[in-house]
Symmetry: C2
Subunit: 698 residues, 2 copies
Amino acid sequence: MDATLQPFFHPTGIAVIGASHDPVKLGFGVARNLTGSGYRGAIHLVNPRGGELMGHAVCRDLASVPDPVDLAVIVVPAAAVPDALRACGARGIRAAIIASGGFREVGAEGAALESQVATIARELGVRLIGPNCIGLLDTHLPLDTTFLAPPPPVPGDVAFVSHSGAICAAVIDWASGQGFGLSRLVSLGNQTDVCETDVLAHVASDAHTRVLTLYLEGIRDGRRFIEQAARVSREKAVVALKVGRFAAGQRAVASHTGALAGQEAAYNAAFARAGVIRAETNEEMFDWARALAWCPLPAKRDVAILTNAGGPGVVAADAIEALGLPLASLAASTLARLRGVLPAAASLQNPVDMLASAGPREFAESLAALLNDDGVGAVLVITPPPPTHSAEAVCEAMIPVIRAAKKPVVVTLMGENLVRQGRELLRDARIPDYRFPERAASALATLARRAAFLDAPTPEPARFPAVDADEVRAVLDASAPGFLPQDAVARVLGAYGLTLPRIVLAATADDAVRVAGELGYPVALKVASPEIPHKSDVGGVLLGLGDAAAVRAGFATVQANARRAHPAARLDGVHVQRMLPEGQEVIVGAVQDPQFGALVMFGAGGTEVEGVKDVAFALAPLPRAEAEAMLDATWAGRKLRGFRHLPPADRAAAIDAVLRLGQLVADHPAIAEVEINPLRVRRDGEGVVAVDVRLRRS
Amino acid sequence: MDATLQPFFHPTGIAVIGASHDPVKLGFGVARNLTGSGYRGAIHLVNPRGGELMGHAVCRDLASVPDPVDLAVIVVPAAAVPDALRACGARGIRAAIIASGGFREVGAEGAALESQVATIARELGVRLIGPNCIGLLDTHLPLDTTFLAPPPPVPGDVAFVSHSGAICAAVIDWASGQGFGLSRLVSLGNQTDVCETDVLAHVASDAHTRVLTLYLEGIRDGRRFIEQAARVSREKAVVALKVGRFAAGQRAVASHTGALAGQEAAYNAAFARAGVIRAETNEEMFDWARALAWCPLPAKRDVAILTNAGGPGVVAADAIEALGLPLASLAASTLARLRGVLPAAASLQNPVDMLASAGPREFAESLAALLNDDGVGAVLVITPPPPTHSAEAVCEAMIPVIRAAKKPVVVTLMGENLVRQGRELLRDARIPDYRFPERAASALATLARRAAFLDAPTPEPARFPAVDADEVRAVLDASAPGFLPQDAVARVLGAYGLTLPRIVLAATADDAVRVAGELGYPVALKVASPEIPHKSDVGGVLLGLGDAAAVRAGFATVQANARRAHPAARLDGVHVQRMLPEGQEVIVGAVQDPQFGALVMFGAGGTEVEGVKDVAFALAPLPRAEAEAMLDATWAGRKLRGFRHLPPADRAAAIDAVLRLGQLVADHPAIAEVEINPLRVRRDGEGVVAVDVRLRRS
């Protein structure tokens, strides 16, 4: 953890620069919230007009503020911020939250001011949160540097880190309505200095925080984020909502891989690597956060459903199944126990339908029976407003059973007004409640996912030590930007253990015939031109030429086809290659992602890659387990195990190619994109053949 | 509409058989709700003990009930229901709601009793809702035959028809919490007589009902449901939640089509045909229903987003984009108008970010400007709890603008407690509000979808009058159940205008050589056996044999391969066929779905159909537009338009094949499944070739 950020999270004294008597000013709100927060350090309100505010004497300038003071909250107009910062430097304050707006977010002039502020802070050694942010809030310390209208959040165990300031007030309000509290809230604003990655470890180190929720509009340094988040996520669950799908950076698109490697693929790969759980909506993020904060993790994935109504039980079973969790098979002893509690007409098989007559005793005892079953990893309880018993009574009976259990239980209290009191009881007991079975099921699935993540060892990227990085650097240094010629490509891939079949350039038809004789018939011809990327599209490829006459005629054909399609392209002749053995054709490619660096792709190869879209991505270098998961995520990868008449192919060699190509691109950022398409995966044990490879240097 | 159901929806007098003084009995609840509902017809409470209840004299038997009475609500124990029904018959009552449980849902004995009840009702001409149901509720008539605990639903314009009784109380309670009312509620219970399809038209005919919501656990007669729902959905929006994904009926699975044609594919196809909007969750169903009930439909799909905060604006834009709606480009005049209202730093391009300072005036005037823009079809407004202005004030200012508009506006009021009053104002004004932008976007997308549905004409299935159904019947009548031999298949398909290439059976190698000479070289050989379905999997197919010697050797090879794979199979020799022209290979198949009948599939053909899963389904016979949509829904279909080096193929011929195969299977239910795989689609104008066809008779 970065010690220079310590004053933000554990300040000994705080100066509010721009504290105001005027209730419409932000400086009023900050003074009100800070003084009312219960903060136990020193509070200094600063305003040139002096006087008294909220029972505190107002200092006329920062210089006159007594010790201790190690954090400033700046709420003066933007133009006055540079001076305020200089005053901080002079007073020895090394951490400042700039709540004021009027910077980069309002245009070029503001951006210039922000850059000036950043420079001043750097020179003075002052760390900054903001500008244009809500600030910081800690419900346990307690501490509140925000100007948000009351009420402040209820203390809780979910931390919220946000790129959007506007959403913070809504989240606080919504959380209190949903019955969960926040531990810390960090609004980062324009992030001119401190960014989401910087605060991760600090927020996670808080003993009250059990789950981190992140509202991200982008990540500046992708690799550093992954490194920090991966460390944090081993200790505490991290759930992220990433908004803004519009592409951020310029991206390589000359390859299939580049065309498909969208920002979303990169973020998904990054979150997967870092153990960050990605939510698609705000509601999902907090639905999951509550369960992660309050429930033990399941030791097994099997879910039991307990309901007093058939219909919602079916909905829950559908949702559980759709999320990939199994429905638990109940033990005979459990069924016997249920039979003792429930009426004869009850349906004992999971979902257990106790019927509408079920009251507090039936709920509690059936739940206990299910939790006692070794085959049950988690229980989803559903109670529509019971016709005869109140939701409150049912919840009251279940709560001790749930609190005593080492397995997660989530409760669907259907309805709204009739279940209000039951809901309050559950929330007080830290048991997550949902209005509908689908959302409860989704929470359970997240718990199972988190458990699986923690059970698996932290994967190490596969490394091939025998690679020759110097050789690759030499080739790249000697090459111009753009697509490399085939011999250079062969050297680069060869240096990383990926051998290409021998391809010989023939400038004339005579040459081609001679080379074909050396390589052995039948041969393939491909037009040789650095300016024609998709050669088969223009009739620039001929296959299976069986003799000299065919090669001679073929040379003329591909030259003519290429000339017709690209009249201005440079033609160097043809590449001659012996026809290759058969196999399943896949694509393996890699590109540099602007946020996250090397991103590797595996999937269905050929010319229809973008149409079929049967591809998977991972960050490189990657662990072997992730490469295996890429194969399992695509049909092209799954069928390498064999499918009907397709014999099992050499999966291990395909995985090896993914890992090596990933390492190559991760080691050499000058490789903008590289793509083997197709990579022909031969029968099991026979290896792979890189039929066609393109590599672009940036 | 079925006149015999009229008493359920407009009864002149109601008898409650089993009205009870005991508050724990359902008969008490029914009496309480009915007498308290404001029902203006005659109310007769019936109980052998007589006396008085809820201010009504209790009749000792049904015979003594005076006129008018045309509906009975039966809440006596199950065993007493037959006698109660007989009493209804004797008293001339022809409609009864059996609320009592204890029938099919409790096992075999109950099922026998239910079947007895159904028989009695049929004999007496009494229509039944239930048993084991909540009954009926109409908030406008008003009428309430349920036993649900108060409060009853608020009057509104959303009708709810449910297979699940248990969910009804939750939905009523939840609806009141969400601020929308119900018009009618129909709980159907065991549906021993009246089912969801029967009540559709009745519920829709209610002037107060603007949207029908259906909670379905299954549909008994799929084609009748489609017919009724298609009629209703032209007048009123129908949103359905179908639960229970576990397969219901026995299904053909000997073909690729059968293996992929799950219950979900059939329901999706059916809902699409009927114009029913399928929701995935309860929340979606009612989120959409509120918007459909309260908003005008958009004349164009383009959405403008108005926000006072950047972050949530981005979330909304993401969601709008993900749902396939365009973000509106704003007219210069709109931008000028916004510029006049908003501060210089505001972001005027859609999403329009007014900044946090925006108050009631800015919201109202900017919204008016957007609604006035001809390029804007709908507006999504977002307001996080405003830092300076209350949500209430903002809503108050916007409501007259929204009410005056002919375009839909949905509002995201982020937060919970701080926005409560604003939310109430919106709900009173019938403006749908949501907590998060994603759900608001989803509601707008549903409005756009509904508008598109109403704009399109009701599609008529394509019919080919020149087909020869008698020929097909003759072949099927002469065939045993199972796969038909190739010549029979050729006759069946030929009768529907789908010609197969000539295939000749050769029993011996000599025969094969002779036939090949007649057909012309090169030829293909396929092992002829009714007992080997996937011939290429076992090496039973050889292609491109160029001369007599190759055919002679090939005959031996395929026989040996087939024998090795299926030692016990009957081998009839080989089928000889001239090698076919090239084309893009697709699959076209059709099966009988147990609920919905003929279901046709189109997609990526070959042997990997189930792995690639690039397929689309529709009910047959189908309109040409639906066949086109199937092509557009799959990569195999889209690439028929041409892709890179693939020339455009004969899409029209492929569509024709889908339509004809669909008509064939729809006309002949004895065809359990038929599949053309591959169907080779030649270049545009050259037609299609059915390379391999299998047809199974049931």
